[in-house]
Amino acid sequence: MRALENAILTLVTFVPLAGALLLLFFPRRHRDIRVFALVVTLFDFVVSLHLPVHFHRAQVGFQYELDRLWIANPNIHYHMGVDGVSMWLVVLTTFLTPLCVLISWKSIDERVKEFFVLLLILETALIGVFTSLDLFLFYFFWEGTLIPMALLIGMYGHGRRVYAAIKFFLYTMIASVFMLAAILWLYAKVGSFDFVTIQAAIRGGHVPNFAGAAIWLFLGFFLAFAVKVPLFPFHTWLPDAHVEAPTAGSVLLAGVLLKMGTYGMFRFNLGLFPEQARANAPWIAILALIGIVYGALVAMVQPNLKKLIAYSSISHLGFVVLGIFSFTTAGLDGATFVMLAHGVSTGALFMLAGIIYERRHTYEISDYGGLASVMPRYATFFLFVTLASVGLPLLNGFVGEFLVLSGAFQAQPWWGIIGATGVIWSACYLLWMYQRVFFGKVKHDVNNTLPDLSGRERAALWPAAVAALVMGVAPLIWLNAIDPAAQATLSPVLALASKVAGR
């Protein structure tokens, strides 16, 4: 049992990669490849469920840790471990990937093997980002997500896919160079890449020249994460990438990839540089608020379904950033919960968009209308997911946004007020979009013959819908693991604040 506790994260992380390597030697029979990919991802999901089941919720600090020397010079460790936040992000990843396999079953009919190999490699890299506690290892996985994702967009996307893939790659690559520079600086001074060691060294004040460099280090990390989130004004790659990406790519992009950025802010910006985070919180929160409102307003005028969902992501991720930089437990809990909820519901929205695209080969909202009568099941799922995304109480979107807003109110009342308008905006653009697509008369004759959801598509949508409901009804399952991690991250900030107040 002890051995399993140590090895579980390694197992969860590398099962998809092992699957990808096996897949390389598969004959090019599409059906076998798809089934195999589904089996691997489902297996990984089941294995990853071990994490929340055996997680010690009251315990502070990292769990399932494994720390081995990997490379002696530079001093790089294979250090894996999760806390309540990263654990749920791992499960989110393993939960969404099998759905991605299902949703790509028919839509990918060319270069099938390459597609699933890339998807599995991407899954390993994504999980690795959340499980690694060595900064170098983290950077490894971080960069590792880039290539499979860019290739997925570039090889399987739509019209302007090459442009979108290159833009995506260059944006994130260039931004992460700054993070690498900051990591190297830390290594040069601390002599370790280990997150826990560096954190202890910074807190203990054992890092020479830290006072002068800290703000630059903070910004180095922050820039890499802000591009990934994406925070206004670094968001321009996202709509392009989303619109051109294949459905599975969009699902993982919105569902997990963007969370790498917010997770990074939580883990590194707050974890390593609490003082600088606090000092810089005002302008970051303003950017987040701009993102919330701007994303929502732009989403409202989008004629393209996928672009609309993409801009809604910018708006929702603004909530996450706002929550993180509100420096309240509620805000941080809520931010994490929004990350998970957004992953499920936006993932489902992209799947739904992909399903209709497979039938009509267009994302233009004006090409639809009246679909509710033609595809009733599809319309029901769509409505359910839309409401979850809008933040209807008892569905998953509500809990997180509520917590974030209450945290923001505590920090700065006007942050909360402006943030709250975001909830209204999201109801506007999502419901209006729903109305234009599903209600009224069928305007285009082709739409009359559209088939409703197939069994496979329902199999992909049901888990997401159920998750959205359970997360809304019983959020404590998630929150009681998240909360200790959030408090642990916040404690130095709060200690600092009381110190300042005491003066």
Binding site: I71, N73, F140, V162
Partner: protein, 482 residues
């Protein structure tokens, strides 16, 4: 000075060179005896055996460290490292030349002979510790590569490449020789160790600065460092692709070995500012030049200029970190670049017709395995993790940071980001564009497959477990400081 007759141990200390030379001569002698059809296969096999034997000889030699031939040759972990590197590159190049020569219908005889003779010079460069011997080794290596560059005799561009390389290269070696003469004038010796003693004693004669500058011009030309890089794109474009793979890695590594000895073992004065300027120029000009290339060979030529710049950054660092970093860079660059040119040589087909970026469109569909292979090499050239290229850059830049060369590192990092763009263009072409012409691809021969497998394994190995190689390279510093 020891004036006795050379002992057996002296010959062991030049064993790899002897092995390569003997096999080179066997190839040349057998060439007229073998009939036309058997020639290609037979000579290739002999050359291959020669390269493998050189690797074995290097490993054998490793247990006989010390000097030989009156202090002209020195076997230490440094020379072993580069001997191994040169022999391994030679082996890989011979493996991928086999198919290339058959496709291009080039006579095999002298080709293999020249590669082996060139390897003699390159090996000797890394173990020679006496400037005149270094010059001779440099000439052996250079003359072989001049001829090899012109081996596609039917192509005018190849002859142009050869002549250009020869003329400019002769100038460069003359500069080097002039520098050696001035150094002798300044310090009274041509032995690197003695020069080091004089130069580190404090009072540095002005002449020594001029000598270092002249030697650096000569060697800088050979490694294609800016501003001595103008020849590179033209020569690489014209020369046969496997030869470019050879001459962009093995002789460069050997010249870097010489530079390391001159800069660190001989305590060359004025090192840091000289390197600073040349490294910054090479990185910037190389990457900017590569951005606008449409020919893959030219693109890789500019990239090799940029990589020479990255490698030179290590020279500006302190010896403790700089020397192992430079050695590691040389090794990982050799692995990825030889591999990349092996793929280019296959895609080129008869007459190297298909070498533009457009010709690479859709290769991901037409030849998934080769395209994936090239992608790995290109990602390594960008410096993406889990490839050798990543750690190579990492070690170089962190060595420079420890020497507080922040400005140079910033230039280097920006350049790496720029560099990513043009390597990506190739990947994008291969995977994201539909093929324009359905160029028939010949099947990949066993030799090329083996060559690619070796390069891939080496590239990934250096990217996942770089520790052992770096530690081995680090032994050098300890030895030189004794």
């Amino acid at each position: 000075m020891n004036s006795t007759v050379p002992q057996l141990a002296d010959y062991i200390r030049i064993l790899p060179e002897l092995v390569l030379a003997v096999f080179g001569m066997i190839v040349m002698l057998l060439d007229p005896w073998l009939e036309q059809r058997g020639r290609q296969r037979g000579l290739g096999f002999i050359a291959l055996t020669g390269a493998a034997a050189a690797i074995a000889a290097t490993i054998f030699q490793a247990s006989y460290p010390g000097t030989a031939f009156y202090g002209m040759v020195q076997v230490d972990s440094f020379s072993i490292f580069f001997h191994f590197l040169v022999a391994a590159v030679t082996l890989v190049v011979i493996l991928c030349s086999y198919e290339y020569l058959a496709v291009q219908q080039i006579r095999a005889g002298e080709y293999y002979g020249l590669i082996l003779f060139g390897a003699v010079g390159m090996s000797l460069m890394s173990s020679a510790v006496e400037l005149v011997l270094i010059f001779i080794a440099l000439e052996i290596s250079s003359i072989s590569t001049y001829i090899l560059a012109g081996f596609r005799r039917r192509a005018a561009i190849s002859s142009e490449s050869s002549v250009k390389y020869f003329l400019l290269g002769s100038f460069a070696t003359a500069f080097f020789l002039y520098g050696v003469a001035l150094m002798f004038g300044a310090t009274g010796s041509t032995s690197i160790e003695k020069i080091g003693q004089v130069l580190s004693s404090g009072d540095i004669p002005l002449l020594a600065y001029a000598a270092i500058a002249l030697m650096f011009v000569g060697l800088g030309f050979k490694v294609a460092a800016a501003p001595f890089h103008i020849w590179t794109p033209d020569v690489y474009e014209g020369a046969p692709a496997p030869v470019v793979g050879f001459m962009s890695t093995a002789p460069k590594a050997a010249v870097f070995a010489v530079l390391l000895r001159i800069m660190f073992e001989a305590h060359a004065p004025g090192r840091i500012w000289l390197i600073w300027v040349v490294a910054a120029l090479s990185m910037t000009l190389g990457n900017l030049g590569a951005l606008v290339q449409d020919n893959v060979k030219r693109l890789l030529a500019y990239s090799s200029i940029a990589h020479a710049g990255y490698l030179l950054v290590a020279f500006a660092a302190l010896p403790g970190n700089g020397i192992p970093a430079a050695m590691f860079y040389a090794a990982s660059y050799a692995a990825m670049n030889v591999g990349a040119f092996a793929v280019v040589s296959h895609f080129g087909s008869a007459g190297e017709r298909y070498v533009t970026l457009e010709d690479y469109a859709g290769l991901g569909r037409r030849s998934p395995v080769l395209a994936a292979t090239l992608t790995i090499f290109l990602l390594s050239l960008i410096g993406i993790p889990i490839t050798g290229g990543f750690f190579a850059k990492f070690y170089v830049f962190s060595a420079a940071l420890q020497a507080n060369l922040v400005g140079l590192v910033i230039i280097g990092v920006i350049n790496s980001a720029v560099g990513a763009y043009y390597y990506l263009r190739v990947i994008v072409m291969m995977y994201m564009r539909a093929p324009k012409v359905a160029v028939p691809l010949s099947p990949v021969s066993l030799g090329l497959r083996t060559a690619l497998a070796i390069s891939i394994v080496a590239t990934i190995y250096l990217g996942v477990l770089p520790g052992r190689i770096l530690d081995y390279a680090g032994l050098t510093v300890a030895q030189w400081r004794q």
